[in-house]
Amino acid sequence: MNDQATQVAAVAALIGLDIPAQYRQSVARQLVALQEQAQLVLDLRLAESTEPAPVFLP
């Protein structure tokens, strides 16, 4: 198992998720792809007053 797969297993364990060993490498690849997209989202500087889109209507 490579480093990323080991890290994926460790992070998953922290949230109670047991990823079967044979899937960890491909999950790690998907997580890297997802993280690239996440970084684009996090890098955008929004005004502090920008609220989230409404997701709940009482």
Binding site: V8, V11, A12, I15, L17, D18, I19, P20, Y23, S26, V27, R29, Q30, L31, A33, L34, Q37, A38, L40, V41, L42, D43, L44, L46, T50, E51, P52, A53, P54, V55, L57
Partner: protein
């Protein structure tokens, strides 16, 4: 491509006037399915006996002087995430196959039937709607009727291919990130993704509650508008359903576009577009008399936010099955769901903030134009099994990037009509007509104008 099946409005007109029987039309559509579905794999369930019985009931009503409705005798199919009474809703999965059959029809299925449509069956899709190619690991790929070596697009691939192949006149699909618009483009038909909240999702299996839209496919604009008008209406059981009056699109269809300001999206919506996609967009823009190029800022990041929201939300939805039955997911879906489960919460919080900001930017743009144009897909239908795409100078993974022009738009719930155009290779490609929220009728008007201009090429 479409065999002997007429357009839905023509079928309904013939059936209502007694010039044709619903049973005869249903029989013809079932024959087309029997002849072609072994190869195309559009359907997961064909309800032949039930369809013939329903068709006979419509014919009986007509003989008794009743009007069965605007879709009298029209053969339809629905993506296999809509509940159909007595059928297990698979949502393209093995996981749900052991569940009991649905007790009743989804709201939109009920509305189609109440208008006289005859349901022929449930249609193949990507597993849990998480894909753009309908290469389903459990039920096999749906093949493109234009070239069976190619994908029908996804995730509503079975629904689109069935319309393109003339098996049904109308199908219902769902669109979370592009799953109506991509298969419309690949199969060369019309598709409508309405405004988020317009059509109730009650009785459909979710993918991402916060992004899921339902909508129809058809082979002409009139049929698309006809189906859309039949489907409209609030339903309180769907938390996202908007309590708005029905706003029929059919009456405005022939109004033309003289007063409309049309903008062509640049920047992100040009990036990686093939010559075929660019040519299709240019033809549509020319037919709209538009030279105005406009920009939707940060569309790339909006697409990224939709990407993240999808991964994390779908992981939350499927978490219990990920824990208890990971081997029963197909590999592509399973790996992305596990990855989505590991995404930090701050990304989602920021994604939702970006969403509001991006929606405001779009609203500002819609003060200058009435509709926006963009390619539906960067390329024509990909080959089944194709792993990569050429986007400009870049070689990128194919599956996540087929929807790169559709994701920013559904992220903020805008209504879109996809119109089909032909290419030199005889493979179709679609263009998105994007309207402000609740202006589906405007997008349909533009589509009708393009149809009259004869620049479109529907299957």
């Amino acid at each position: 491509m479409t065999g002997a099946l007429l357009a839905a409005h023509q079928i309904a007109s013939n059936v209502r006037s007694g010039r044709a029987s619903a049973e005869e039309i249903t029989g013809r559509a079932l024959s087309t399915i029997a002849a072609r579905d072994g190869e195309l794999n559009c359907f997961t369930t064909v309800l032949a006996d039930r369809a013939i019985r329903d068709a006979r009931a419509i014919d009986t009503r007509i003989r008794q002087g009743e009007d069965p409705g605007a879709l009298a005798g029209v053969p339809v199919g629905v993506k296999d995430l809509y509940d159909v009474a007595g059928v297990v809703t698979l949502a393209g999965s093995k996981i749900l196959a052991q569940r009991p059959p649905a007790a009743c029809d989804a709201v939109l299925v009920s509305r189609l039937k109440a208008a006289g449509a005859v349901l022929l069956g449930c249609q193949n899709m990507d597993e849990f709607a998480y894909g753009f190619t309908t290469e389903n690991p459990h039920y096999g790929p749906t093949r493109n009727p234009h070239d069976t070596a190619r994908s029908a697009g996804g995730s509503s691939g079975g629904s689109a291919a069935a319309v393109a192949a003339g098996m049904v006149a109308i199908s219902l699909g769902s669109d979370t990130n592009g799953s109506i618009r991509v298969p419309s483009s690949f199969c060369g038909i019309f598709g409508l993704k309405p405004t988020f909240g317009r059509l109730p999702r009650t009785g459909s299996f979710p993918f991402v509650h916060d992004l899921d839209h339902l909508g129809p496919f058809a082979r002409c604009v009139r049929d698309l508008a006809l189906a859309y008008d039949v489907l409209q209406g609030f339903d309180a059981r769907d938390a996202a359903s908007a309590n708005r009056a029905v706003e029929p699109a059919l009456p405005d269809l022939e109004r033309g576009i003289d007063a409309l300001r049309v903008g062509v999206l640049d920047d992100w919506f040009e990036y990686g577009a093939s010559a075929e996609a660019q040519s299709a967009l240019a033809r549509v823009a020319a037919a709209c008399g538009s030279a105005q190029t406009v920009r939707l800022p940060e569309a790339r990041r909006a697409r990224a936010a939709a990407f993240c929201l999808t991964g994390a939300s779908a992981a939350a939805l499927h978490l219990q099955h990920l824990k208890s039955r990971p081997h029963d997911f197909g590999p592509a879906v399973r790996d992305r769901l596990f990855a989505g489960a590991l995404l930090p919460a701050m990304v989602l919080a920021q994604a939702q903030r970006l969403r509001r900001w991006f929606a405001a930017a779009a609203a500002q743009l819609f003060q200058r134009v009435d509709v926006l144009l963009a390619p539906a897909t960067p390329v024509v239908a990909t080959l089944l099994g194709q792993e990569t795409l050429q986007l400009g100078e870049e070689q990128v993974p194919a599956r996540p990037n087929i929807g790169l022009y559709t994701q920013p738009i559904s992220f903020i719930g805008l209504p879109v009509v996809v119109v089909p155009l032909s290419t030199e290779r005889k493979l179709p490609i679609g263009v998105q007509i994007i309207a402000p929220p609740w202006r589906e009728a405007t997008a349909l008007r533009v589509a009708a104008h393009l149809e009259r201009e004869r620049i479109l090429s529907s299957a």
